[in-house]
């Protein structure tokens, strides 16, 4: 089985020859290819080459367009600060929607309009050309909470949830329309699955998540399904209190970061594919290959059979190659 065959068989519940292996690599991938991260985030050709080098070196089952959460916000006119060798970051002091009135004037950018979103679409197309018959191609969009935080400023958004929930709903409506257009462009270019990153959703409690965030995540996931995409949900941080809702979104794959896999399995039921979740810093970067193997085996035991091998979040820069190889060996030597 090649990676694509293995992945789609796993999703459809058919037999596979080994576990699927899908750790998130970004800065780690740039380092593997010997390129600076600023170039990786700015030029899809650099990103694609680095992803392929990394996927081949560690036998990963997929390549991903993910680089940083600032692409959509940049095209909306947010001030994004670029660094030579680390991810671009949004300058919250000059947030695009520092003044809430600006939302009425904001227009969703064209994902094929030559901006940072277009660069990601080009990455999906180049992946299709280079590895479209062997690796799974993952497109990426931001979830409502993450993107709203990028546009409004995360501190302001957190207080908006309490001060002005109606504004948050309007902002989420804008975000979902924009993200669905962005996803459509990536799917048409060649993406097989769409990853949804909604990092800031782990910062709100279950009440705000269920009442305000979840309904918009659901609209996004339903919209992605209507476009024919499979969906991977990734919420960074501790999601222990919102696992129920995450499981009800209908995503093909749910990543867990700082939450118990056993808890995830109990809350989301036996059919949900869970991905993760050894600790990126404590185990993946700072641990030994033996520790990596033991930790991923524990995750596997807690989640089998609907389980994909990965770290809780991005594989950190500086992770020893032997630790990554331990993940690869575990995936290839085990079945679901």
């Amino acid at each position: 089985m090649n990676s694509r065959e293995r992945f789609f068989a796993m999703l459809d519940g058919r037999p596979v020859d080994s576990l699927v292996l899908m750790p998130i690599t970004m800065m780690y991938a740039a380092d593997q290819a010997g390129v600076r991260y600023g170039d990786y985030a700015a030029d899809h050709r650099v990103l694609v080459e680095a992803q392929i080098v990394t996927a081949e070196k560690f036998d990963l089952d997929y390549v991903s367009c993910i680089s940083d959460p600032g692409r959509e916000a940049a095209d909306c006119g947010a001030v994004v600060k670029f660094f030579p060798d680390q991810p671009p970051a949004i300058d919250e002091q000059q947030a695009r929607l520092a003044d809430k009135i600006e939302l009425a004037r904001l227009r969703a950018p064209d994902p094929l309009g030559g901006g940072r979103m277009h660069d990601r679409v080009r990455a999906a197309a180049l992946f299709k050309e280079r590895v479209g018959y062997s690796k799974v191609i993952e497109g990426w969009v931001e979830g409502p909470c993450a993107e709203a935080a990028d546009l409004r400023g995360i501190n302001s958004l957190m207080m908006d949830f309490i001060d002005d929930p109606a504004f948050v709903q309007d902002l989420f409506a804008f975000v979902i329309e924009m993200e669905l257009r962005f996803a459509r462009a990536q799917i048409e270019a060649g993406a097989d699955i769409i990853g949804v990153g909604d990092a800031a959703a782990s910062l709100v409690g279950p009440r705000i998540y269920e009442e305000i965030v979840w309904p918009w995540e659901k609209r996004l996931v339903d919209g992605l399904h209507a476009l024919g995409a499979r969906v991977r949900l990734h919420i960074c941080g501790n999601t222990s209190r919102i696992l129920d809702g995450m499981g009800k979104l209908g995503c093909a794959i749910v990543d867990l970061d700082l939450a118990s896999m056993a808890d995830g399995r109990a809350k989301m039921g036996p059919d949900q594919i869970l991905l993760g979740n050894i600790h990126p810093v404590h185990v993946v970067k700072n641990g030994t290959p033996e520790a990596v193997t033991a930790a991923i085996a524990a995750c596997h035991r807690e989640c089998a059979p609907r389980f994909i091998v990965g770290a809780g979040c991005e594989v950190p820069r500086g992770t020893p190659a032997e630790n990554m190889m331990a993940l690869t060996r575990y995936a290839r030597e085990h079945r679901p």
């Binding site: 680390q86 501190n155 957190m158 207080m159 709100v204 209190r241 820069r317």
Partner: protein, 212 residues
């Protein structure tokens, strides 16, 4: 003091308008401003921190509580300064050079302020030299460094080294935190303490600023 009790509730509920008006009324009625801080505001933020640790409060609730506390503190701080009252300690805080992520740093700053510390917040992307210069200028007791990215963690070490070069390492305690940070890393770079979360940071700051 009945009115003052409403200050506790307003801070805990994140109601900045009420926190401010209750403080104004209490001060006009002759309530000791120091008592408003120690008997109402610090206990309210301690309770907010406790609820945060117990997953009863989350980031939105903690931020609005901090905002309410600040609204009241704006009225009280000049009065305390005028009578020469000393804070629990003076902390220079910031997100290290190259890193623009500030929500964790803001939570720690708010909790420290709520814990009775004077907080000098340098914002994000702060150079080691600026941490050192500000700590010296403001006669701080503590320097608190935050980083979200593994790529910016070395700026923490650079700040400790800048203190050493300036001959000031013994004068300021250094505490660090952020998603990729571990106690092991704190030990490696010679920081004085590490906290995994905002409430823990207050306890750590109290411990580090306690007289030996």
């Amino acid at each position: 003091m009945e009115n003052a009790k409403r200050l506790y509730e307003a801070v805990l509920e994140g109601d900045a308008k009420t926190a401010r008006s209750v403080t104004e009324a209490a001060l006009a009625a002759g309530v000791d401003p120091q008592k408003l801080v120690t008997e109402q505001m610090i206990p309210a933020m301690d309770e907010a921190g406790r609820r945060f640790e117990c997953n009863e409060f989350f980031v939105p609730e903690l931020l609005v509580s901090a905002r309410a506390m600040k609204a009241a503190l704006e009225l009280i701080r000049p009065l305390l300064a005028a009578r020469g009252a000393q804070p629990a300690g003076r902390v220079v805080i910031g997100t290290v050079k190259g890193d623009l992520h500030d929500i964790g740093k803001n939570l720690v700053a708010a909790m420290l302020e709520g814990g009775g510390f004077e907080v000098i917040d340098l914002g994000v992307d702060v150079s080691p030299e600026r941490f050192v210069a500000t700590a010296r200028e403001k006669e701080a007791h503590l320097i608190a460094l935050s980083a979200l990215l593994t790529t910016t963690m070395p700026s923490m070490q650079a700040t400790v080294e800048a203190l050493q070069r300036a001959g000031l390492r013994e004068r300021f305690k250094v505490m660090i935190g952020g998603a990729p940070i571990t106690q092991k890393y704190a030990d490696e770079i010679g920081a004085d303490g590490y906290s995994e979360n905002a409430a823990g940071a207050v306890a750590l700051a109290r411990r580090l600023s306690a007289p030996m």
